[in-house]
């Protein structure tokens, strides 16, 4: 018989080690489908690591992917801390991107130091307003925000398609559904010459630090943590759970909206309806792997980005589908959930009929 006994105190070291072990386990388990597909293991892993981290170009690609994942990861982490289940980071990302494109593709004629902050602010606001809907519905009518925030993703994506086919369609795009490009003054500058890494990475890292400070050092973070882990005690102590939740919803949506601005203004230049390969959903994995810690989000976003970039190059090298990346990331999530149980509980094996004398 297997029993789980709660540990009295779990160490800080274990809390850090668990996700690392989970990541390694997930990478190791990727060997099974690789073997089934008949790919040579050594070459596959080499291609994966090489493709993600092996050269300056590879590393730059990984960092480019890391940027939106940090922001969506932070969006999910702050919401989940308050037990606000925001599954809608994908939609909020598109809302942010849409706002940036509307204002940034010629509507405003301003120098860069005005236009870039304006676009960032607009994108953040759009994301925040979008997340305000499920949050308000939850607070006012107890509607499950998992459902509403998830379904809003599809609403937003269809709305983006409609705009791209209509008012926002670039007349020079030869019929492709894409928006006009962001003007030069609104573009986030590249960080490293001849790579796609852009200033969005700095913004994402700054946000991670800011969120860490907010969560651990401010009254806001204090209230978010209290409301998230014991809402009735927080209410009893005089905190307004409604205000805290609404605030969290707005911050969470704004962070995901920023991810969208970064993708259009830093990377693509224009908006298409396949701007994000699921950054919003991957943000959930990133946040969970990070144990909802803002600084941990940076590391786990880098890991998830590396797996995706590495799997792409592995797929080119040995001819296995790049879906292996999705699989690895999913296994990593499962492994970290199991790991979370093991850091909090200790497994005891007992023989069913063990004799005591």
């Amino acid at each position: 018989m297997i029993r789980l006994e709660p540990r009295q105190e779990y160490s800080w070291l274990m809390a850090v080690a668990a996700p690392v072990v989970a990541a390694v386990v997930a990478l190791a388990l990727a060997a099974i489908p690789l073997l089934v597909a008949g790919a040579p293991l050594g070459k596959s892993y080499a291609a994966m690591f090489g493709g993600a981290l092996g050269s300056q170009f590879a590393l730059a690609e990984t960092l480019t992917r890391t940027t939106p994942l940090i922001l969506t990861g932070l969006a999910v982490a702050v919401a989940f801390r308050a037990r606000l289940w925001n599954i809608g980071a994908e939609g909020q990302l598109y809302a942010g991107a849409l706002a940036a494109v509307v204002l940034g593709s010629g509507a405003i004629d301003a120098p860069s130091w005005i236009l870039v902050p304006t676009l960032l602010l607009a994108g953040a606001t759009a994301g925040a307003l979008l997340m305000a809907i499920p949050t308000a519905l939850k607070l006012r009518f107890s509607v499950d925000e998992v459902v509403t925030s998830l379904l809003l993703n599809f609403v937003v994506l269809l709305f983006v398609s409609m705009m791209l086919e209509g008012p926002l369609k670039d007349p020079m795009s030869l019929g492709w559904p894409q928006s006009e490009s962001i003007v030069d003054a609104g573009t986030l500058p590249a960080l490293i010459a001849r790579t796609r890494v852009h200033a969005g990475l700095i913004i994402a890292l700054a946000m991670a630090v800011i969120m860490q400070v907010i969560m651990s050092r401010t009254v806001w973070g204090f209230e978010i943590r209290a409301v998230g882990s014991n809402p009735s005690a927080a209410r009893f102590a005089g905190m307004s759970t409604t205000t805290v939740m609404l605030r969290v919803g707005l911050v969470s949506g704004a962070l995901a909206g920023l991810a969208g601005v970064g993708e259009v203004a830093g990377l693509k230049g224009y908006l298409t309806h396949d701007l994000s390969p699921g950054f919003g959903y991957s943000g959930i994995v990133v946040a969970m792997l990070a144990g909802l810690h803002p600084l941990g989000v940076v590391a786990s976003a880098f890991f998830v980005a590396a797996v995706f970039v590495g799997a792409d190059s592995m797929s080119r090298a040995v001819g296995v589908p790049s879906y292996i990346a999705n699989l690895t990331v999913a296994v990593a999530l499962l492994a970290v959930l199991v790991g979370g149980v093991l850091t909090r509980y200790r497994i005891r094996l007992q023989k069913p009929g063990a004799r005591i004398v």
Partner: protein, 521 residues
């Protein structure tokens, strides 16, 4: 009272031989040996954490003992070893347990609750008629009367407890374990339970009665086993025991009674006039309450759970607003009801459920101590926490209120109930509130912690606080209060001086009967 002749020589029903149970470095049960005879009521007395529940969990197969064995008498009376770690085997051997928190399905009938789990899954039709007949017979012999067709959700707490006992008997229990059975009963219901137990033991049932209430133990038990710190420290014949002896054995040192000095109360601090209010779930629960508490006065409120006390407490906490009537504090009518508004008007609140409302388990002690005034300038500056100052404040509070088991950086969930309560007391009393609501302030605490809490409340009274005390422990209520009132069906009775009240009179009022001072026994 009926008693088996020479029950001291009755055959053994149960023998616990040298049971030791360790949890890591903690020894919860240290080589405990205990015998139970047929037809005997054995009280298991001890403070929280003394090892009572662990021992019973070992007996019932929820835990595996590290050492020792358990023997149970079979139908013929010869002792056979009980297979360890198997609740099924314990049930089959005739051990029945009635937990403190009942395990009944509210939406099923009494009959269904009792037969639940006793019939084969492969059987198509329930054999209700046979079950009914057996239960009627059981009720006749035991005196456990309750309508078998009634839905459990509509029964009173006392009736539910009877259902639990019937359930155990129906499954053939020869040994009945009752875990703190009177915690939820009025004194009269407790007396009825004791009478039932006497009647059942006369038919040969053996009972283990877990309690930390001395009066009850003396009233019902034949023999008392006292546990302290995981060891059995004494086994006393109930006839030769008294309260003081039991208390001292249980705690290990002589217990100092709290000092309560008579003094003349001051001006009225808080006044409620004809207040009606819903409980936090929105049901109209408080029908009518009027009272005034003066400075330096403790008003005690008694009542069986579910008679409107929770609505009264929620109102004073600021969790609900009154639908009628008025609340005033120092002459000013309270117009806005929220926890923050009421705290600002000078009310300190000790919540009924300290895990649920009192502390945030995953937050540290310094954070929990700052939970209520985190927005004050003492705690923050421009939205940034003054962590250093808060930790210093926590260190001081931990020292003054003698919180053991951790420092400012310890997570609150790791504290014992008593120490958690001290953290809440520190948070509430440090600000010297003019009004204190103490709702079940000593529930689940051991004797040492109880006297600490009592002394702190009396100190606050001496300093001029107006205290509203709600407690299920009537001895506590009468010992601390200046005046007492009883809640029944949402209405607060006439408030009387505590000196004119007895536990018995309170019990009658709690049951809704008129306890006119003249004809009370």
């Amino acid at each position: 009272m009926p008693e088996l002749p020479a029950h001291n020589h009755a055959p053994f029903a149960l023998s616990i031989a040298g049971v030791t149970k360790r949890f890591g470095p903690l020894v919860a049960n240290d080589a405990i040996s205990l015998d139970l005879r047929r037809g005997e009521i054995l009280a298991l007395l001890g403070e929280n954490g003394a090892g009572k529940t662990t021992l019973m969990s070992v007996l019932f197969g929820h835990y595996l003992a590290d050492e020792g064995a358990i023997f149970v008498a079979d139908g013929e009376g010869s002792l056979a070893p009980l297979p360890p770690g198997s609740p099924k085997a314990a049930l089959a051997a005739g051990i029945g347990m009635v937990h403190q928190h009942f395990t009944l399905a509210d939406n099923l009938s009494v009959l269904d609750n009792i037969t639940l789990g006793t019939e084969s899954l492969w059987q198509f039709w329930k054999n209700d008629r046979t079950a009914m007949a057996r239960l009627k017979e059981l009720q006749r012999t035991s005196g456990l009367h309750v309508d078998l067709d009634a839905r459990v959700g509509r029964l009173s707490v006392g009736e539910r407890q009877r259902v639990e006992i019937l359930k155990a008997l129906y499954r053939g229990a020869r040994i009945l374990i009752l875990d703190e059975p009177t915690a939820v009963l009025t004194p009269q219901e407790s007396d009825a339970l004791f009478a039932t137990l006497k009647r059942l033991t006369a038919t040969g049932l053996s009972v283990i009665f877990i309690s930390h209430k001395l009066n009850e133990v003396l009233a019902v038990a034949d023999r008392v086993a006292v546990l302290r710190g995981g060891r059995k420290v004494a086994e006393i014949d109930a006839k030769s025991a008294n309260r003081a002896l039991l208390a001292e054995t249980m705690v290990g040192t002589a217990v100092q009674p709290s000092v309560r000095r008579a003094h003349e109360p001051g001006a009225t601090i808080i006044e409620l006039k004809d207040v009606r209010a819903p409980d936090p779930r929105g049901r109209q629960a408080l029908e009518s309450a009027s009272f005034a508490i003066r400075a330096g006065e403790i008003l005690g409120i008694a009542g069986v759970a579910g008679n409107g006390q929770s609505a009264l407490a929620a109102l004073v906490c600021g969790l609900v607003a009154p639908t009628e009537g008025s609340v005033s504090i120092q002459g000013e009518t309270v117009s806005r009801f929220s926890p923050r508004d009421l705290m600002q008007s000078g009310i300190g609140r000790i919540p009924e459920d300290r895990h649920h409302d009192g502390v945030v388990g995953t937050m540290k002690l310094w954070e929990n101590l700052a939970l209520e005034d985190i927005r004050s300038s003492e705690c923050q500056q421009a939205g940034l926490l003054r962590r250093g100052a808060l930790k210093d404040r926590a260190r001081a509070a931990i020292k003054t209120f003698d919180v053991r088991g951790g420092g400012p950086e310890t997570e609150a969930r790791l504290l014992s109930g008593g120490n958690m309560q001290k953290v809440i007391l520190a948070r509430v009393l440090d600000r010297e509130p003019r009004v204190i609501l103490a709702n079940q302030p000593t529930r689940g605490l051991d004797v040492g912690a109880v006297s600490f809490v009592h002394q702190r409340l009396l100190d606050a009274r001496a300093k001029g606080a107006a205290i509203l005390l709600m407690s299920e422990d009537l001895d506590e209520l009468l010992a601390l209060s200046d005046r007492v009132g009883v809640m029944y069906r949402g209405t607060l009775s006439t408030i009387r001086p505590a000196g004119e009240m007895t536990v018995r009179r309170l019990g009658l009022l709690m049951a809704g009967q008129n306890a006119d001072l003249g004809d009370a026994a």
